[in-house]
Amino acid sequence: MQQERSVVERAHPGPATYVKVAVILAIVTVIEVATYYLVDYLQAALIPILLVLSAAKFVLVVGFYMHLKFDAPLLRGMFAWGMTVAIGITLAMLALYKI
């Protein structure tokens, strides 16, 4: 366990990584907003693109800023369980209301 802990601590990213992540987040946000003005070109592809982009942002923040990428698997499992149930129920409701 001691060994694993030190691995965890070593892997924690530093400010440089955080800033890099922030830059990526900013770029993704700009792309997202850009799609808003490109509705006519993207059409059906728009919604999948937006979902993928926001999922990417989500994963970046959770993985790096919340350290989940580097933290105990148990915590990952807990959060994943909550997300899974929430997303599953949301999808089920969208299906029930035919959206």
Partner: protein, 201 residues
């Protein structure tokens, strides 16, 4: 107890079965639960999307450029938050306070932006009672705003504690836990921004 000094320096995390501290695990469990809270608000919003019987309708009223700036502000606050945490973890209390102050300030800026957005909408006739969009929009974003507000109070408390010497690098984990909450509020906004603002009708 002499033999306990050996473990005295190790963070309290080591006292637990899993090696994860109680506080951190509590926060993650709470966040998992909060996923369901926002998940429920979001699915109700999604189900009612486009079902308002009278205006003002979503596309007439949402101001995407304005909200993009808000969203960026909240994302930036997340960056400030990790930098503050990095500060206290490395014993740099000044850096910690500056960045934590920046986090709280950016959060406050976001809330201010939300306040002006809400007032603007009210002037355009979108109220809680007006239609389903008003009802679901204000309650969803309002509860997110409440979370931001609670977060700001928390961060300010941490800054005050550090000024009074009650928060030292030894308990940097308190900042980490507050940070988890703050980032979670941020990712909720990432989802809301996409589902409420960006996805067209």
């Amino acid at each position: 107890m002499s033999d306990s000094t050996a473990v005295g320096h190790v963070p309290e995390a080591h006292h637990t079965t899993t090696g994860i501290s109680h506080n951190k695990m509590l926060m993650w469990a709470f966040l998992a639960s909060d996923c369901m809270f926002f998940g429920s608000l979001i699915w109700v919003y999604m189900v009612y999307r486009g079902r308002s019987l009278e205006g003002p309708y979503t596309q007439e009223i949402l101001n995407i450029p304005y909200t993009s700036v808000s969203a960026a502000v909240l994302l930036l606050s997340s960056l400030a938050m990790v930098l503050a945490l990095h500060g206290i973890q490395h014993g740099d209390m000044r850096r910690f306070r500056v960045w934590l102050g920046a986090t709280a300030a950016l959060g406050a800026l976001f809330l201010g932006g939300q306040y002006f957005e809400f007032t603007e909408f009210y002037h355009h006739g979108l109220t809680l009672e007006q239609n389903l969009f008003g009802t679901t929009f204000f309650v969803l974003t309002g509860f997110h705003g409440t979370h931001v507000g609670i977060g700001i109070i928390w961060l300010v408390t941490l800054i005050l504690m550090s000024l009074f010497g009650r928060l030292t690098p030894a308990n940097a984990e308190r900042v980490e836990v507050a940070g988890l909450y703050w980032h979670f509020v941020d990712i909720v906004w990432i989802v809301i921004f996409t589902l409420v603002y960006l996805i067209p009708y």
